[in-house]
Assembly symmetry: C2
Homo-oligomer: 333 residues x 2
DNA sequence: CTGAAAGCGCTTACAG
DNA sequence: CTGAAAGCGCTTACAG
């Protein structure tokens, strides 16, 4: 079909072994021979078949980025920013990125040998069981938290502290009635966020009120605008912390819908400080974390595992930092 | 190393040929034999090596999604929505998606045989030459416009008409001084948009004024807020059309910065109607196009090409439709 | 219905 | 420095 290493070898009058050595930069080829081979390669426009190489080297050269609930997560800038980091982290290596967004694709990935390692966006417990993941015996790095006793290295924001910072920031602005909009508790992320919220209320000597908390089915505020509006109408909170920026954008919309102006009537804080947050109007107060760094770190850990290195640090937690922007102010008198 | 087809064959007491036939659902295996083989496969947790299969079938089983300037584009929801469509379009097939965001990755992709086909997000002329693309001899589908005489099938929004609709919408609201914020003219997309703008001005009998147009270096308004602010200060326009929603979000910010309130002082229209546009506050008037459909269509065309079908329709253009939301109104008296 | 064997395009000891 | 040969894990005519 297309030109193979044999064609190159024949054309250059050498063995395939020599061509292979030149290709992979291995020593043991004379200068003149190498030059000739390189010329033939270029001239014939030879492109090595990665599958064949992988076959003998017992690796695929691909790493997978697995995104459960892709259709939804794709619209969340959190994902694209972290992905950008992963791409940068992988860039200088020979690996390619295989992406999986749907459960069908995940199946394809897990039921065949098609990748050497996996970066997994924190799945829900129902979605991918520990067992099935362990069984495939591939290096896996999780982004965000997965389950309590996960054996896989994980890199994640310090959500608990981040949300605590947000609560504290509102407190310092003078708020005493602080609400919380969370995702579903089937996600470890939500659990961590909730912990941060309750702990900080406690620290501050504020009462914990069930009615101050709204738990959404999904981190998708666009579907939940009505729910959030109702929540706001029934509350006497003056500030609200959201478990993600995306949720916060939804909260802004919901608040506006019910006639609350921001930040005068209601202060809103997001989490993760996605790039667009500083960019929308009004710019969103949020808790910043180095999302790009998280992606890069996940990539570098996986790369280390692929090299057979032992990972000492099973959990890399990125510090978060509150950033005050235009959606927060002191409450009205 | 891990379990291969040979191990399965031995364990089941059959030849590898039979195992292979079962695996690929080919006929010619007795019921009982098949049952036994399936059991062994499951029991040994056998996973076929895609590289080996590809080697004999002369294909990789991967298709590439190539995103030039990934770091930037990743933050643009346009991309993630279309990608979602691609993922859905590919979902029922055996193909995996290989993603390439950086020029390094593109090189890896193009210099090796690692994919069977490519979906290419419209590159700039400087980035990927027609020549280099043609040379690799793979089926390629372009999303958005590439170059005038590109031989590759392309699926894209009808930008020209979309921008024209936006101009007309503003006109009908009473605007007579309508500005335009565009991306760089090295992109066919920008050229189409500009055409739509000028043509519609002409239709409407409005004067074309150079000073009413701002051409940005990149479709990245976050870097250009200052530039846009300056632009607004120097203009007497009452409405502005932007070549993308992302640009429009930047325009909102810039306008706010210079003390213009929206839509009272300035009406703003985006393009592409990215999911978050309807969701931000104020919700963005935009020109809608079925981004998901674009992704799906691109995938289905590529799939057809991979099947060897002849593509009659070299260009699939998606209709756009103006949607009035909260960033537009009649100009102040 | 079933299997032996060739071959896909590479790499890698091994021998010289 | 160089090459002949084995082998990676599959599939696919071919023969029975």
């Amino acid at each position: 079909m297309s030109v193979s290493i044999k064609d190159v070898a024949r054309e250059a009058g050498v063995s395939t072994a020599s061509v292979s050595r030149v290709l992979s930069g291995k020593p043991g080829v004379g200068k003149a021979t190498e030059k000739r081979i390189r010329e033939v390669i270029k001239q014939m426009d030879y492109r090595p078949n990665l599958g064949a190489r992988g076959l003998v080297q017992q690796k695929t050269g691909n790493i997978a980025v697995v995104v459960p609930r892709g259709s939804f997560i794709l619209n969340n800038p959190f994902f694209s920013t972290v992905l950008d980091g992963i791409a940068q982290g992988i860039d200088q290596t020979d690996y390619n990125i295989l992406m999986s967004f749907t459960s069908t694709q995940q199946k394809k990935l897990l039921e065949k040998k098609s990748v050497d390692g996996i970066i997994l966006f924190a799945p829900r417990i129902e979605e991918l069981t520990l067992e099935s993941l362990k069984k495939i015996g591939l290096p896996i790095v999780v982004i965000g938290s997965y389950v309590e006793d996960s054996p896989f290295p994980c890199v994640r924001p310090d959500d608990e502290d981040g949300i605590a910072q947000a609560v504290q920031a509102l407190y310092q602005l003078g708020h005493r009635n602080i609400g919380f909009i969370n995702g579903p508790l089937s996600s470890m992320h939500s659990i961590n966020c909730l912990n941060g919220y309750t702990k900080e209320l406690n620290n501050l000597g504020l009462d914990y009120l069930d009615e101050n908390i709204l738990e959404l089915d999904e981190f998708d505020a666009s579907k939940a605008t009505n729910e959030i509006s109702t929540f706001f109408k029934e509350q006497k909170i003056t500030g609200v912390v959201c478990a993600s920026d995306y949720l916060a954008v939804g909260a802004i919309k919901a608040a506006t819908t019910v006639g609350l102006s921001i930040p005068e009537d209601l202060s809103i804080v997001g989490a993760d400080d996605v790039p667009i947050s500083s960019f929308i109007t009004p710019s969103l107060s949020s808790v910043h974390v180095d999302l790009l760094g998280i992606g890069k770190k996940a990539a570098s850990i996986l790369l280390d595992m692929l090299l057979g290195k032992q990972i000492e640090n099973k959990e890399v937690v990125f510090k978060m930092k509150y950033i005050n922007r235009a959606t927060t102010s002191s409450p009205k008198e």
